[in-house]
Amino acid sequence: MPGLKDVKDKIEGVKKTSQITKAMNMVASAKLRGAQERMESFRPYSEKFAEAMKDLSGGMTVTLPLMEVRDVKSVEIVVITSDRGLCGSFNANIVKKAQRLMDKYESEGKKVSIVTVGNKAGQLFKRSGKVRQAYKDIMGTFQMFNAREISQDITMSFLNGDSDQVDLVYAQFVSMARQTPVTEELLPIKPVEGDEGEAVEKKEITGAYIYEPEPAEIMEVLLPLYLNVQIYHGMIEVGAGEHAARMSAMDNATNACGDIVKELTQLYNKARQAAITGDLMDIVGGAEALKG
């Protein structure tokens, strides 16, 4: 039987922990609101952008450097995770997805290099020795220019021929309870194609457009921007997903704390009663002895 004081201390300790997890839950939910707003305000931009890309690439005849499909010898994987942990299996799932992708490419005899965004990916991939570039302390307050920096970096390596294909692994914010790790091909940029009917319809409209400069030249400006948009999008999704995952992780932790406190309280009461019974026995025994 543990001592009364030990149990009491433990109960206090668990209660303090639950205070912390509760506070973290509340902080995460406040931050999630901000992240969701950011997601909302980004949507019109990214949707419009995708639309324009579709319009333009429909009539494209030339292949721009960023669209060049090469024989794939080396692949670069960009992994986006959060900076901090304590959000359940959120980061582990993303890293696992990236790891599987890496294994797949390596079994095909391709060289793999990794670019990590967010501290967690950096830590978890450090040991693999394949990290070419690690972006740290970035997920807390990232802006468009952070995404631009990353996209410029991977573009350079693609154009130099250091990588023939670039994939992006991040977690999609599906709902509060679900963040699914996904893979997207970043480079070479594939011409966006809609359904047959849609494509024809679009082309008729685009035919009437005045382009300034030529469509190919517009695309040349648009493609790097499109890359920025994709990376920024990934970062936003991970940002929101992190907070949602942390909220549910902290909620679970708070509940678990409650359960433990309940158990410990029972244990404490049992121990207290055992002590009282023991004391009573002593008193009664003592009284008996005196009588005799």
């Binding site: 980004f42 019109p44 419009k48 324009a52 319009d55 005045i210 382009y211 300034e212 400069p213 517009i218």
Partner: protein, 138 residues
């Protein structure tokens, strides 16, 4: 006067959504103006000042890199950033300009292409900020 609907959208949300008389924008191949019922048109935008006029009042917006689309009497700008001239902190912009000039000089001396393009872009943004805010204050 017939009006055209102007929308300026950035990654951090829409900045302008308004019916205006005329829009003047810094296209890559030169400044262009758009009035109501303009033909469908697509152009890339470089860093500079976007001007639009409603009720004889001109407003100035600093925009950086993106493109614009005109269709169905609506002009949409998709730019990486947009700031109203009257919201710009001129002192900060001037400081940024000086910083960018210094960085550019360094990059030129060391002939680093990457840093040079970055410094050039920063310099352009700073200059555009200053000019947009000056025009807004005139």
């Amino acid at each position: 006067m017939a009006q055209i609907h102007l929308e300026v959208v950035t990654p951090t949300g829409p900045v302008v959504s308004d019916d205006v008389d005329i829009v003047t924008a810094p296209g890559v191949s030169g400044e262009f103006g758009v009035l109501a019922n303009h033909a469908p048109f697509l152009s890339t935008i470089k860093t500079g000042t976007l001007t639009f006029k409603t009720d004889k009042q001109s407003k100035y917006l600093m925009v950086s890199g993106g493109f614009s689309e005109v269709s169905n009497n609506k002009i949409t700008f998709l730019v990486e950033s947009a700031e109203y001239g009257h919201d710009i902190d001129v002192d900060r912009a001037i400081q940024a300009k000086e910083r960018a000039e210094k960085r550019l000089a360094q990059a030129m001396a060391a002939s680093e292409t990457m840093n040079r393009t970055r410094a050039e872009a920063a310099l352009q943004r700073a200059i555009a900020r200053i000019s947009a805010s000056e025009r807004a204050r005139e």
